[in-house]
Amino acid sequence: MMPETRPRVLTGAHFINGDIACAEGALAAGLGLFAGYPITPSTEVAERLSQRLPEVGGRYIQMEDELASMAAVLGASWGGVRAMTATSGPGFTLMMENLGLGVMTETPCVVVDVQRGSPSTGLPTLVGQSDVMQAKWGSHGDYEIVAYSPSSCQEMFDLTIKAFNTADRLRIPVILLADEVIGHMTERVVIPEASKIERVERKRPASAPGNGYHPYATDNDLVPPMAPVGEGYRFHITGLTHDEKGYPVTDAVTHERLVRRINEKVLRQASSLCEYEEASLDDADIVVVAYGCVSRSVRRAIREAREGGIRVGLFRPITIWPFPGERIRELSAQAKAFVVAELNLGQFGRELERFTSKPVVGVNRAGGELLPPEPVLAAIREAASW
């Protein structure tokens, strides 16, 4: 029988699905509040946290919609806790409003999007990967975002922790861009001891309240220290274009400076943010690119192609945004072609084309089932014949 109250970090080996691994990762990262709205295929994240958060002194609240969920997450973050929500395509769209507020006010938080077949209501229970561009461009305006793509239940756990650390380090919303297959797949997940969980704290103001704290005065890394509410710093935060004091300003110069900075603080870290896995690439002249669930089925295609003598390897982006363009450029030197397999009609592949002059072959499905190895193998063979 399960004990009444379990610890925050469930150290040990577990056999759990990706959504639950995500919830446990959030708890291990120190999650203080979850606000969400039920939506398939992400509901297990909310269900798990509705049980687990109260066990460890956290707060779970089910909001009236995803607009409210995202707003509550931002409010909670300013309240000084790590906050998150979980959703899928239709809800992710509603969150874009306050995701933008999070970007503009530099509010750290984590948004989990367990992707399903889209557009619109689409295929609620079946897999898709068609929110790649929404994750980058979904809210209005120019901004840089960080999005991680887990391809296993272990990564659902690990990358959720990483997402919180990146969010707090850069003061941005970070997206865990998962998919239905990974969310609902059950695998072994190893949760380390609590002391082994990395934690990056938010930068706090160096001075005590009353010494002229300016909420948007930045350090060299362009990330402003963040004062908690209720401690006497008396700051004002707005989604309007603002100066270092946080005051609304209506001029092009301030606007340019602010928008450039909130983009630059992310782009400056792009090389350390961009994580990826590579397999069999040393001698490869065909590079298969796949992420999330699709990165699992393409491995078989690569293996069979290799058995047939084709020099092919895998590039699996773990960080989808910022886009790993520099690494693609490097691989482009050795590749004669890229094969990009994804459960959308070419969102990642289209971005990849900006970083190579080599042919880019898309293996695309709109979603609804995991991409099988066969069409990927066919594309590899086709490219090998060139």
Binding site: G32, L33, A35, S50, Q51, L53, P54, E55, R59, Y60, I61, Q62, M63, E64, D65, L67, A68, S69, A71, A72, V73, L74, G75, A76, S77, W78, G79, G80, V81, A83, E97, N98, G100, L101, P209, P228, V229, G230, E231, G232, Y233, R234, F235, H236, I237, T238, G239, L240, Y247, P248
Partner: protein, 282 residues
Amino acid sequence: MVGELLVQTHPRDALLRADRLPHIWCPGCGLGAVMDCYVRAIQASNVPLDKHVVVSGIGCTGRIAGYLNLDSFHTTHGRAIPFATGLKLAKPELEVTVISGDGDLFAIGGNHFLHAARRNTDLLVVCVNNFNYGMTGGQAGPTTPVGSRTSTTPKGASDAPFNLQHLAIALGASFSARWTALHLRQLRSSFARALQLKGFRFVEVLSPCPVGFGKANNLGEGIDEMNFYRSQGVVDQTIEPEMARVEMSHTVPLPLGIFADGGRKRNTLTPQTRRVNGAVTV
């Protein structure tokens, strides 16, 4: 001729961001008076000033947050209440007040008002009701009286407006009052009372918007609308909330007063009290 009165300091200086004044509101607007009432009420409250937080949405009223020398948030249109809900749950010792306009709270944000009231979320929500979208140039909104001329109802508004007192009380608000930008002592007293209570509390303030609404609707300048509040305002707290409609007519009384005060029996949405099976639920 009235002489100019120069003062070096003002009793509310410490709570206003003087470096942001003068404010952006039009001559005749009631928002400055409402802000002053709120500031006086929190000065008199038992909660330390550092623990008072104001969250606003978008619009003229939404700008109050930026003039207060408190921790304050100017959020997205309609989302002040859910933002404040997350903030309050994360840090329960805060006294969180949402101050926003009728369009922000009851059109684009209407659903959040419903659900925050349903949960009995521990928030004071202040609605400055000026019957139109002032910031964008005087369009019709959810409280525009039938027949009123606005920039989007050139032949008069046809949609029925909300009676906000009826709405708030039907949703179970533990405190609900309506005053005007003229009834400043009553307003301050209602703020003070609401700040003593827990749970979902609501204060509505009718406020002149001569530029966006008043002049087009036979209410004249700000001072004329203040006179209208004086001549038509009737404090009758015995009437049923559903009868407390605001018609803004020179021939119909304007019902004012405290229509609910602490009568609510439900628990409050705080992490300590709203737990069912250990989870904070609704």
